[in-house]
């Protein structure tokens, strides 16, 4: 009674050993107060692929994701030991500037969260903030970002419209476009489709496959089928630890760990 998963075409041909490391966790631990949420995480996320993190609720996958752009820092009781390297730079070094870091890493949240502004202003927010462009250049960036998120054709005639006029799926693609506007190298996606209908989900999954050409995509999902569909590498987490991490086809077709197998076959979730 085992489930079969559709592994995507690129993943079938993927070989971890031949890819470059983009984000590397070394002995990384995280506490919220006394709660030891991430335990001795060692993992290498490769560049220009989609890496999925899956696991039951509370396993720490979202926390791990947010450690990459240090969004956990916002919570006062957060404490970490160990290192996280992006391109061999330790982002948890004391003199690292968290604001520059966040310009390199874009984030898309579970529930679409556009600003209460026009579509144009939403995308322009990042470049205006960091003063990277203005005037015509800004128009160009907005267009490119919207194209990159496969949203341009749908909204090009109503850029001045309020973002809340869009459907849920469109709003999420808007948030993706907004993340693209600051020209990041890494895109983090925290269960981006959980608030969306199946058709919108399909569009965003297709988008992920396009995005990996130019960016490194890290995905957190509670949907096993999604992980199998879109990622080249998958990590399975349980209670704050990475139990298994490898090429998606290996993890799904030949899991090495009993826990992983139980999770994949649906014995718990």
């Amino acid at each position: 009674m085992s489930k079969t998963y559709m592994i995507n075409g690129d993943a079938a041909a993927f070989s971890p050993r031949r890819a470059n490391d983009k984000v590397v966790f070394k002995g990384f631990n995280l506490w919220y107060g006394d709660n030891h949420v991430l335990k001795d995480v060692n993992a290498a996320i490769k560049s220009n692929i989609v890496t999925a993190f899956m696991g039951p609720s509370g396993c720490g996958k979202s926390t791990l994701l947010r450690s990459i752009d240090r969004m956990n820092d916002i919570i006062p009781s957060c404490r970490t030991t160990g290192d996280v390297y992006i391109d061999r730079r330790n982002i948890y070094d004391t003199d690292e500037d968290v604001y520059t870091l966040r310009k390199t890493v874009g984030m898309v949240f579970q529930k679409p969260n556009p600003f209460p502004m026009s579509i144009y202003d939403n995308i322009a927010y990042g470049p205006r903030l960091h003063k990277t462009a203005s005037g015509d250049e800004l128009d160009k960036i907005v267009e490119e970002s919207l194209r990159g998120a496969a949203l341009w054709d749908e909204v090009k005639d109503r850029l001045r419209m309020n973002a809340f006029g869009l459907s849920g799926g469109q709003q999420q693609r808007l948030c993706i476009a907004r993340a693209l506007s600051i020209n990041p190298e890494i895109i983090l996606m925290d269960e981006p489709c959980s608030a969306l209908d199946p058709i919108a989900t399909m569009k965003i999954e297709a988008l992920m496959r396009e995005l990996k050409e130019r960016y490194t995509v890290v995905l957190v999902t509670h949907n096993l089928q999604q992980a199998a569909r879109v990622s080249e590498m998958t990590a399975f987490m349980y209670l704050g630890e990475i139990i298994e991490f490898g090429a998606t086809r290996d993890v799904f077709e030949n899991p090495r760990n009993g826990l992983t197998e139980n999770y994949i076959t649906g014995r718990f979730g």
């Binding site: 752009d69 310009k103 949240f109 969260n113 600003f115 907004r178």
Partner: protein
């Protein structure tokens, strides 16, 4: 009488209570309008008071407007800044709780006490004399806690998701506040400030002690000149006038004051209702 009948009776009584609560508003509006309309004329609105009970109220209208504008200029930004601090930056410690406690205390202060303080501190100690400046500053003491409360509410209501999205793009806390939180909170803040202005324009006790006798026949020339105001004018004519014309003028001034007050309050509520729909899905 069974429970269902009791319920109906109770509902009827509650309706009656509510009706009583708000009935005075239309009564006063109608009463002031009916009695005051007769006094309104171009001469009344542009003339100056003379011999106490006669003449027009132009200096009083201008005086009230000056007082309220100046007081808002002083108290508005300060109140908003305080609210930003309390809503976004203040840690949960003794110092913060003390600041909040004092803000609440100031909010509950009787206006006559504020007037007394204004008299003592501004008029005498700082030698500002009974003046537009002293009156406006005293009014701003009164306005400050209202502005803080309304602005803090408006800022707190802005959803957390906006802040997260901004921070995730590399913005600092202050950039997030300036570019996302405040713009979203502006309608609520404007509503609060307008409501405060409405209250300030009708404020008598404070201006009585600090701004001028009320029956000034001239528009204040400088910040240090004493200034008339509509509330003082109304009070003096209502309590010490003995002619029919004086009474009529008091009604006229009341109507003008009421109109100005309603304009500010109603526009405040309209703004809030309009933007309440825009904020978020």
């Amino acid at each position: 009488m069974n429970e269902v009948q009791k319920e109906k009776l109770v509902r009827a009584l509650l309706y009656a209570a509510v009706a009583l609560s708000i009935v005075m508003l239309p009564i006063i509006v109608v009463w002031v309008t009916a009695n005051g309309v007769g006094a309104i004329s171009l001469e009344f609105l542009t003339g100056r008071p003379y011999r106490f009970e006669y003449g027009g109220i132009y200096p009083q209208i201008v005086g009230s407007l000056y007082l309220v504008s100046l007081c808002t200029l002083l108290g508005g930004p300060l109140g908003i800044a305080s609210a930003i601090y309390l809503a976004e930056y203040a840690p949960d410690n003794v110092v913060t709780r003390t600041v909040r406690f004092f803000t609440e205390t100031l909010a509950g202060m009787p206006s006559i006490v504020i007037g007394l303080f204004g008299l003592q501190f501004l008029v005498y100690y700082l030698k500002l004399k009974t003046s537009l400046l002293a009156g406006a500053v005293s009014l701003s003491f009164l306005m400050l806690p209202w502005t803080i409360r309304a602005s803090e509410e408006a800022i707190k209501v802005v959803p957390r998701e906006y802040r997260e999205a901004s921070l995730a793009m590399g913005a600092t806390k202050w950039q997030t506040i300036l570019r996302v939180v405040l713009p979203a909170a502006v309608p609520g803040i404007v509503t609060g400030v307008l409501l405060g202005m409405g209250k300030a324009i009708g404020e008598t006790a404070v201006v009585w002690l600090t701004a001028g006798s009320g029956l000034e026949a001239f528009v204040p020339r400088t910040l240090r000149s004493p200034t008339g105001s509509l509330p003082m004018y109304i009070y003096l004519l209502a309590t010490q006038g003995h002619t029919a014309e004086g009474l009529q003028n008091a009604f006229g001034a009341s109507l003008v004051l009421l109109v100005m007050f309603m304009a500010m309050s109603v526009s405040a509520l309209l703004i809030r209702n309009h933007y309440l729909r825009k904020l978020g899905p």
